[in-house]
């Protein structure tokens, strides 16, 4: 089945990419935007979704600096 994993930088870690985007938006006329963070989307098809957390811990994210969220399609 298809799953999506969102990997985002942990709270409190400096995210210069997010800041750069946050600063760029007003210049284009978009105001009232705060707290921008940039992460990664991993899409995959997996036979055994129960193994997804382990995959995230071991390879797909670095738990020291990232949080992950698993979204199974259809849920």
């Amino acid at each position: 089945m298809r799953a999506r994993i969102l990997v985002r930088p942990k709270e409190g870690i400096l995210d210069p990419q997010g800041l750069a985007v946050e600063r760029a938006l007003p210049a284009l006329g978009f105001t009232g935007v705060d707290n921008v963070h940039i992460g990664r989307l991993i899409e995959l098809e997996v036979a055994d979704p129960s193994r997804l957390p382990e995959m995230c811990e071991r390879l797909l994210s670095n738990p020291l600096i990232e949080d992950y969220e698993i979204i199974e399609d259809g849920k």
Partner: protein, 233 residues
């Protein structure tokens, strides 16, 4: 003294590291898919873009077959040096504390930087004097060292921060200007600057030679530096 330099698909500075090591001893390449460390006395995990830096820098390389041997070698007390991408690989593998993040500038930076030797009686900095300032180039996009505050306090207290960027020389926003750290057992060391690019007066400074010379001295005269700064576990 025989150095082994790991070569992954995408490694760039492995030949540079090989040539630098050959100024101090013998050196061989260790292919990523092999399970054989060829009897080397020290392992170098070099700079470059192993596996294209895909997913995260070093994230895939750490699972290469040869890294099992390297991890065992480290557990047995062997010397392991990680340079730039190599530092990233060792952090991803859990052989070194912390992680490397994207430079604050978000850009690749090449610069000759001044480093301060924060701890000198180690297998990697033994040829330097405490507080000595050395000149070594950096070249990376993902070199900002990070660890949570409590961990940083612990590292500093245990004397595991071996090199710091001199004031005004921090090129990437690393916390507390940290340029290189070692593990608790002090036999694994990672740094973002490239000592292999500071070994020949023709192409730059020669301060990087000291790191290779320290490693050779440590291997050829074991016990020289042991005990001096054994941390409490």
């Amino acid at each position: 003294m025989k150095f082994g330099i790991v070569r992954f698909p995408g490694s760039c500075d492995e030949i540079d590291a090989l040539q630098a090591a050959e100024r101090v001893g013998d050196a061989v390449l260790l292919w990523h898919a092999d399970h054989d460390l060829r009897g080397v006395d020290a392992v170098i995990v070099p700079g470059g873009f192993s596996y294209g830096d895909y997913l995260r820098a070093g994230a895939i390389a750490r699972f290469a077959p040869v890294m099992d041997q390297v991890a065992q070698f480290a557990r047995d007390g062997g010397l392991v040096l990680g340079i730039c991408n190599g530092f990233q690989v060792l952090c991803e593998a859990g052989l070194l504390p912390g992680a490397l993040l994207t430079n604050v500038s978000l850009k690749f930076v090449f610069r000759q930087v001044a480093l301060d030797v924060a701890v000198a009686d180690t297998a990697f900095t033994g040829a330097c004097a405490l507080g000595e300032r050395i000149s070594i180039p950096v070249k990376h996009t993902t070199g900002r060292f990070y660890a949570p505050d409590a961990e940083l306090d612990r590292l500093e207290h245990a004397g595991q921060v071996l090199l710091r960027y001199a004031p005004g020389n921090n090129p990437n926003g690393s916390v507390r200007d940290i340029a290189g750290v070692c593990n608790q057992e002090r036999n694994v060391f990672g740094l973002m600057p490239h000592p292999e690019h500071a070994v020949d007066a023709l192409t730059g400074s020669t301060d990087g030679l000291k790191i290779f010379e320290s490693m050779r001295a440590s291997v050829e005269r074991p016990g020289l530096l042991s005990g001096a700064s054994s941390p409490a576990s």
